[in-house]
């Protein structure tokens, strides 16, 4: 059981490697959770679509932030400090539709490793966590597929051989239906208005995963992986009368693309390696148009037309090589090197035209038309890195994983080095009990320019600058791990510090400036510590019950906000999750999740100053000084499968999010009760959400 969780599957199995792996049961990493694709696909889904990030939110040591969003605040992190790897390629934009859905199609996921501490030296570039997602290779012998239709989206996954037992493919597609659903609503609204004003709009998201695998021999294979996801949001209103018209439109589209080619080979009984070239891209375009003018003889004459597009791109191209070497039964050496070229581009395209501007031209003879070509700034950065780690089996059942990662981040203005030592020590006390201790330093050279806690397409990634340098974290973690019988009990603690964190300190929350962006941010530090308890009882293929508890503190210090340390917004002091999966009858499967945690923190006026008999004013003392009401909800999912005469499977799933309709606080404001006393008033937005989905597996 331990081995399944803590040791990632090696691609190339040999008798020697297997033997070594047997010895390497219970690797040294702390804070590592492994979830396989099957488990992910059976978790409760908010809208009938299993969600990888929301599954991670249930785990101990993780705060979820805003309800239904894809926030992942790990060990006091900021949410933008998680390294998401999709088949080894960094993915920048990990959510659709403002964070309601993650970008990962669970139909395609083979497994994922989630590191919260004890990061091996082969990972780097983010402070708080590593989410290493691997998609499934296609079936080499038979064609299979899965089609499902949920409340708001549909999914199709197909896999099979291209060349029997040599080459395979696996393709997954998702698309939302929300734009289809909004059509009748808009038709109704426009019908009620008589077509004037006329509203238009819609939202659609889709993504595609593809993986092609070719085996050259039993010791050598090639994988080509591809992901492309897009979001498209449009809204507009147009009003026309006999003399004039007005047309206002909003258009936003954003998305990600990753592609990689990886060659894995075994060079001998003790050595294997993987060479990968990759490209990853994240882009967004947020724009609007405003058009007003006159109408003469049913012909529209634009007098004032504005069009504005804010564009932000990140393009990474990289190559990396990872080597596994088993020199003897006491050592497993990993080494690797990589180099990535980051291209960050921000820009905007602005256009104004119309007869009104031409009128100005005639008035003073100056050209008032501004049909600006796209403007913006580009940043180029290079990031070479090398790492070396060795898993050493010592005497008295001690195992040490020691390593170091060294990276450089070079821009035209400055180059930063980062030397990150990593160490983890495990003591196998008995076959069922072990203790672990780890220390890691992590560096992060990029920052998310975001003014809000919501995933918006206006959020963008930027490289470090001399004014906003890299972030660094140091984390010590340790724990005790028991596996008596069908139980697994883990107790882990951590202490983590973070330096160079950034927080927005400007007034334009929707559009944080992208040129000279660092001027609107202030730097500070963070500190987090806590204790996690994880208990699981499982009967294979029948029942699994897990209980997670987290006791944690998360602090921030931003001198420009407040001169003393203050608790972070996601300081959920206590967090409990009960998760269960029950295969209670043939063809029936039930899962549930009950979440409870101390409420998120919010900034409320703390003092009242009387300025007269009937007048007073309120004052804020410190950030995040108040706690929202405790959060809790229950989700239940019921799955029914029928095996058809031809062996295919049809399945129905009923998922109910927030079963007992507990309205959890989304935000709060100052209020007065009937006696005139001040109190907090929170507002809950997310009610019970039942969804039904149907699927067909062939």
């Amino acid at each position: 059981m331990f081995a399944q969780e803590v040791e990632k599957r090696d691609t190339l199995d040999t008798s020697y490697v297997t033997a070594v792996k047997e010895k390497m049961r219970n690797t040294t990493q702390t804070g590592l959770m492994r979830l396989d694709g099957n488990k992910l696909r059976t978790t409760v889904a908010a809208f009938g679509t299993p969600d990888l990030i929301k599954s991670l939110q249930m785990l101990p040591g993780v705060a979820a932030g805003n309800e239904l969003m894809s926030g992942l605040y790990v060990h006091g992190g900021d949410g933008n400090d998680n390294l998401f790897l999709l088949d080894g390629v960094p993915l920048y934009n990990v959510a659709h539709f403002g964070g309601f859905f993650s970008s990962f199609n669970t139909d395609m996921v083979e497994n994922l490793d989630f590191y919260k501490s004890g990061f091996p030296a082969r990972f780097g570039g983010r402070l708080s966590s590593v989410v290493d997602v691997e998609t499934s290779e296609g079936n080499m012998k038979e064609y299979h597929g899965n089609f499902s239709l949920g409340l708001i989206d549909g999914r199709l996954q197909v896999e099979g051989p291209i060349v029997m037992e040599k080459t395979s493919f696996n393709i997954g597609l998702r698309r939302s239906w929300m734009d289809v659903i909004t059509v009748p609503a808009l038709l109704y609204v426009n019908h009620e208005n008589g077509g004037n004003p006329k509203a238009s709009g819609g939202y659609a998201m889709w993504d595609m995963n593809a993986r092609v695998t070719h085996k050259f021999s039993k010791d050598s294979k090639l994988n080509a992986c591809f992901y492309w996801g897009r979001d498209d949001l449009k809204a507009g209103i147009k009003e026309v009368d006999s003399e004039s018209f007005m047309d206002i439109g909003l258009r936003t589209n954003w998305g990600s693309l990753t592609s990689s080619v990886a060659w894995e080979a075994k060079y001998g009984p003790k050595v294997n390696g993987k060479l990968m070239a990759y490209f990853t891209r994240s882009d967004s375009d947020v724009g609007y148009t405003f058009d007003v003018g006159s109408v003469k003889e049913k012909k529209e004459d634009s007098m004032l037309y504005f069009s504005d597009d804010e564009i932000c791109d990140v393009n990474d191209t990289g190559i990396k090589y990872d080597l596994n070497w088993y020199p003897n039964s006491s050592n497993h050496v990993r080494a690797g090197a990589s180099v990535a070229m980051h291209n960050y581009a921000t820009g905007r395209k602005y256009e104004q035209k119309g007869t009104l501007f031409e009128l100005f031209d005639e008035t003073d003879g100056k050209d008032k038309t501004d049909n600006a070509a796209p403007t913006g700034e580009k940043y180029l950065a290079w990031e070479p890195a090398v790492y070396l780690e060795d898993e050493i089996f010592l005497a008295y059942n001690f195992t040490l994983n020691a390593g170091v990662r060294m990276a450089l981040f070079g821009t035209s203005r400055k180059t930063w080095p980062s030397i990150e030592p990593r160490a983890a020590l495990k003591w196998l006390i008995t076959n069922d009990i072990c203790a672990k201790l780890s220390y890691t330093r992590m560096g992060q050279f990029i920052h998310m320019v975001s003014a809000m806690y919501i995933d918006l397409p206006t959020n963008s990634w930027m490289p470090s600058t001399p004014e906003a340098g890299p972030m660094v974290s140091d984390q010590v973690a340790g724990g005790l791990y028991f596996t008596p019988g069908n139980f697994k009990i883990n107790v882990e603690g951590w202490y983590k510090t973070m330096e160079g964190m950034l927080a927005y300190n400007g007034a334009n929350a929707f559009y944080p400036p992208l040129v000279n962006w660092e001027k609107s941010f202030t730097s500070g530090s963070g500190k987090s510590y806590g204790l996690e308890l994880e208990t699981t009882y499982s009967i294979p293929n029948k029942l699994e019950l897990s209980a997670y508890y987290t006791l944690s503190w998360s602090w921030r210090q931003f001198d420009a906000y407040y001169m003393f340390p203050f608790l972070d917004r996601n300081d959920n002091r206590h967090k409990v999750n009960l998760v269960g999966n029950w295969n209670f009858a043939e063809g029936w499967f039930m899962s549930f999740n009950w979440s409870w945690h101390t409420g998120n923190r919010i900034t409320m006026p703390s003092h009242i100053i009387r300025t007269g008999d009937d007048y007073s004013t309120s004052v804020y003392e410190s950030p995040f000084n108040a706690k929202l009401p405790d959060y809790h909800r229950l989700d239940i999912s019921l799955d029914r499968k029928w095996v058809l005469f031809n062996g295919n499977i049809i399945h129905f799933n009923l998922s109910v999010y927030n079963v007992y309709n507990h309205m959890n606080a989304s935000f709060a404001m100052l209020d007065k009760d009937e006696n005139g006393n001040y109190r907090g008033m929170a507002y809950g937005l997310i009610p019970i959400i039942p969804t039904l989905s149907v699927g067909y597996k062939f």
């Binding site: 001169m563 003392e621 929170a682 507002y683």
Partner: protein
């Protein structure tokens, strides 16, 4: 279909439910202190207020404060005030301290009584800046009116971690056909009212997303006091006109020793008798009164005679302030309190809570300043008397 829509609407209403909750324990009574000592002979205003815990169940009382509750130390030595007279509005007590602070002075303040935790804070009086030169050039903006571009150079390069403020006063003389001088001078909120002015950049509408937003941050300052929209009633000071808008500047906003900004100083003088529109914030009337447009009893007086505006001349006075870091942070927080309203909904970082007062609220922050002389606009033109025919045409146009 209507029933379905009604059902959805009711569902949404039910969804946005209110959840009252108690947060009684987030605060306890504090002193609020605002003390901004400045280098020079200026009197420094003092504001001390009793701040009750917001969620206290009993109504807050009115308290007294006197000089005995207030202690100022300069470089570790207590300053014996000559005579401090305290005035109050509710629980906000105001006084002023006569004292000559010099740059480098470490000023500490303690406020205490027997029922509220003693509050204390300290600051250092910064070295005053020195203006080396001011260049004014003509700069057309893209909104159809010409403006001025100012380049203010200090006598030395601004170092990292230094904080400044800048304020500009525009003095205009208006000439009418009678060639009488009216009004002789006028002080207006030029930076705030010139809505497409962004100190540090020549801004056009197309720049709106690239603006250096720090350049927008401003507070209203007068010697020893600040005022912001949020703290207006707390300060109990209705004399807003005595405050000048001070744009806050961090060192990174300087280019070496110079800071440049743009001022849309030119407005249509024909609007003078209708109330000059300075961009929406100010409705200035020639008789120097502010008119409440919602006042149903207001009846504009008919002018006794017609005066024909024919031109104006302008002068500028620029003040440069050096702020202690804590004062800059506090001023920035005051500004953001008014404009970053999304923070109240918990979707953006809260950046309006700064205070350097231990066990208290408010600010003790040093400031020093220098000022230019009145600088005539280099593009001033001497108004010329129009012909009688032109005057008649201008009168008709009114």
């Amino acid at each position: 279909m209507k029933k379905i829509c009604l059902f959805i609407a009711l569902g949404l209403l039910a969804g946005a439910c209110e959840i009252p909750f108690s947060i009684d324990d987030i605060s306890e009574p504090r002193f609020f202190v605002e003390f901004i000592p400045t280098a020079g002979d200026q009197e420094t205003a003092i504001k001390v207020a009793y701040a009750d815990a917001a969620y206290a169940k009993k109504p807050s009382a009115f308290y007294d404060i006197s000089t005995n509750n207030f202690r100022v130390e300069v470089n570790g030595k207590r300053v014996a005030p000559e005579k401090m007279e305290w005035d109050h509005q509710g629980n906000v007590w105001k006084s002023s301290l006569k004292g000559k602070f010099v740059p480098g002075d470490q000023v500490s303040v303690t406020v205490e009584d027997n029922k509220t935790p003693a509050a204390s804070a300290s600051t250092t009086i910064p070295e005053p800046p020195k203006i080396a030169s001011i260049d004014i050039t003509k700069s057309d903006d893209k909104e159809g009116s010409d403006g001025r571009r100012f380049v203010v150079k200090l006598d030395r390069v601004v170092a990292d971690g230094e904080y400044y403020g800048i304020s500009i006063t525009l003095v205009d003389e208006y000439y009418t056909a009678e060639l009488s001088l009216m009004p002789p001078s006028m002080k207006i909120d030029t930076l705030r009212s010139s809505y497409h002015t962004t100190p540090g950049q020549v801004a056009t509408m197309s720049d709106i997303n690239n603006l250096d937003l720090d350049g927008f941050a401003s507070v209203n300052y007068t010697y020893g006091g600040l005022i912001s929209e949020s703290s207006f009633y707390m300060l109990g000071d209705m004399m807003v006109s005595s405050y000048s808008p001070m744009v806050l500047l961090a060192s990174r906003q300087f280019d070496g020793n110079s800071y440049s900004f743009y001022l849309n100083a030119n407005f249509d003088i024909s609007d003078m008798f209708d109330g000059v529109d300075f961009g929406g914030d100010t409705d200035y009337q020639p008789d120097d009164t502010y008119v409440d447009p919602d006042d149903e009893y207001y009846e504009p007086e008919e002018p006794e005679s017609y005066s024909i505006p024919i031109g104006s001349k302008s002068w500028y006075k620029i003040e440069v302030f050096r702020l202690s870091e804590e004062l800059y942070n506090y001023c920035k927080a005051q500004y953001l309190m008014d404009y970053n309203i999304l923070a109240n909904f918990g979707v953006t970082p809260p950046n309006f809570t700064y205070s350097n007062v231990r066990n208290g609220l408010g600010i003790v922050g040093g400031i020093s300043m220098c000022s230019s002389e009145l600088i005539p606009d280099p593009f001033n033109k001497e108004p010329e008397m129009p012909s009688f025919t032109d005057l008649m045409n201008m009168l008709k146009q009114q």
